[in-house]
């Protein structure tokens, strides 16, 4: 699964799964031998952010760009300027983990002038099992609104339909039907379907991107 562009951006509505996918995407690029930096520009979520994995990912050679030191936990909209160094550095590919909803898209728009459009590939992540995303009309309006607010072109849709640990093929295939409709209306192609490891292989219509869960709760760590 190859996508063009030095800068790979994951955006979408709140809680759609952008962070898990961005983390997994960074890992897959790194495993393919590329140098990867992941920029956490999520100023919306107070918990379950990619910056929480800065140390673990650092050991894998993946640089996570986020506010330094204790500022990482501040309830403040801080974007680390380090990100622009990596934009200019020809050795790196950058994965950008954007915050959810309109507020997250606005943060992305504030960077858009420094992110050359021809070097960006933007993915819009969608989970129809999330509140306010369960109808085609709602989902389309979110895509269009976030595209405007972020001032970015959206290159691909990503099907991340899931209900967490209880996800089966049924939910994922429902998501494929759902996102196909969104794709027809918006004329944005679908890049892939996200499938958590442990869920049986599907014969869906899109490429399967297998992921592991990084944002774990304390009780999940020990239960495996």
């Amino acid at each position: 699964m190859e996508f063009p562009g030095k800068i790979l951006i994951f955006m979408g509505m709140f809680g759609s799964g952008k962070t898990e996918i961005a983390l997994n995407f960074a890992q897959s690029l790194s495993k393919a031998g590329q140098r990867v930096a992941l920029a956490d520009i999520d100023t919306i979520s107070p918990y379950y952010r990619s910056r929480d994995l800065r140390e673990a990912f650092g050991k894998d050679g993946i640089k996570i760009i986020a506010p330094a030191g204790k500022l990482a936990h501040a309830d403040l909209p801080i974007i680390s300027p380090e990100i622009f160094g990596y934009v200019e550095n020809p050795e790196y590919r950058i994965v950008i983990d954007v915050g959810g909803n309109d507020d997250g898209a606005v943060v992305l728009s504030s960077l858009s002038r420094r992110l050359p459009a021809e070097r960006c590939t933007t993915f819009y992540v969608l989970n129809p099992y999330r509140p306010f995303n369960d109808t085609i009309a709602n989902a389309v309006s979110h895509v269009e609104r976030l595209r405007e607010k972020s001032r970015m072109r959206i290159d691909f849709l990503v099907n991340n339909s899931n209900i967490g640990p209880e996800t089966t093929g049924k939910e994922i295939l429902h998501g494929e039907d759902f996102i196909e409709e969104i794709s027809k209306i918006t004329t944005i192609p679908v890049a892939f379907t996200v499938v958590m490891n442990g869920v049986k292989a599907l014969k869906g219509r899109y490429h399967e991107f297998r992921i592991v869960k990084y944002m774990k709760n304390p009780w999940e760590v020990e239960n495996e």
Binding site: H73, P131, E222, N223
Partner: protein, 351 residues
Amino acid sequence: MAEKVMVKGNEAMAEAAVRAGCRIYFGYPITPQSEFIEYMARRMPQIEGVFLQSESEVAAVNMVYGAACTGNRVMTSTSSPGFSLMQEGVSYIAGAMLPAVFVNVVRGGPGLGDIQPAQSDYFQATKGGAHGDYHLIVLAPGSIQESVDLMEDAFRMADEYRMPVLILADGMLGQMMEPVEFPEFVKLEGINDHSAWALRGATGREANKVTSFDIDPVNLEKMNIFIQEIYKRIKAKEVRYETIGLEDAEYMLVGYGTMGRILGSVVKLARSKGIKVGLFRPITLWPFPYAELKKAAEGVKTILTVEMSMGQMVEDVRLAVEGSVPVQFYGRTGGMVPTPDEVLAELLKHV
């Protein structure tokens, strides 16, 4: 059966409140609870409800006070420093005997603290955070589904006993995402007959009066005694808790909320090492399951209470067992969350 959806705890509790018949919400945003108010801002207009963001938590609680005088289902949600600001209003609502539901998604304290999960507001929630002889019914869900299921109970109890009910969550419960099944919408008609006291227009009848004020000490004492009688009924009827693996347990863990869930993992870990451990998880923190905990502790060698605080509920655990079993404590605070391994290591010190 309804289809499951994937929701954050804050969103789930908000939707559950809507389904429980809440059509009036006042609030002020604060991390890690803000998704609650954001959800209500989107949701209330869809169902012809009232959503109002107040200028502060002090205003929000007094709006709740005013709306509760009409006997309609009303609520607010906040996080620790915000709930402290609301305390005066909470006491007035308790004194005026009004139904209302509060949600506190607890974060690290004291003071401004931080925005990470904590359980350090237990004393405030259960022992009276404001002035006067009053209690809140305090419910502590351990999962998002349980927080949804308890919401309808919260409104039912608030109506039945005419008193404020608090759902005590922590930041983790508010922020994490899980699959949830929502109950059907309750029917709004005939949901609560408060015509005997509620302020809904007095045309053609004598005016009702709602107040927490009585200048006559004889009457004020009577009112307090009346409220205490209600508390006795609640203690007899509403106590809830969950136990895991206590049948043959030699050691008992006690924890509530998401900490109870972490302790569930500790039980599994310890049992895989051959240590017979069980869990007692109070779901009602007020009324606290004193008698039930004492009975559950019969025959255990040691109790280890674990909290995301420096030791608050542990005092109720000690009151419950009345010295019959040694009670140890382990806690992390300020937003730090104990891991199952960490708790197991602590437990092993007492085995």
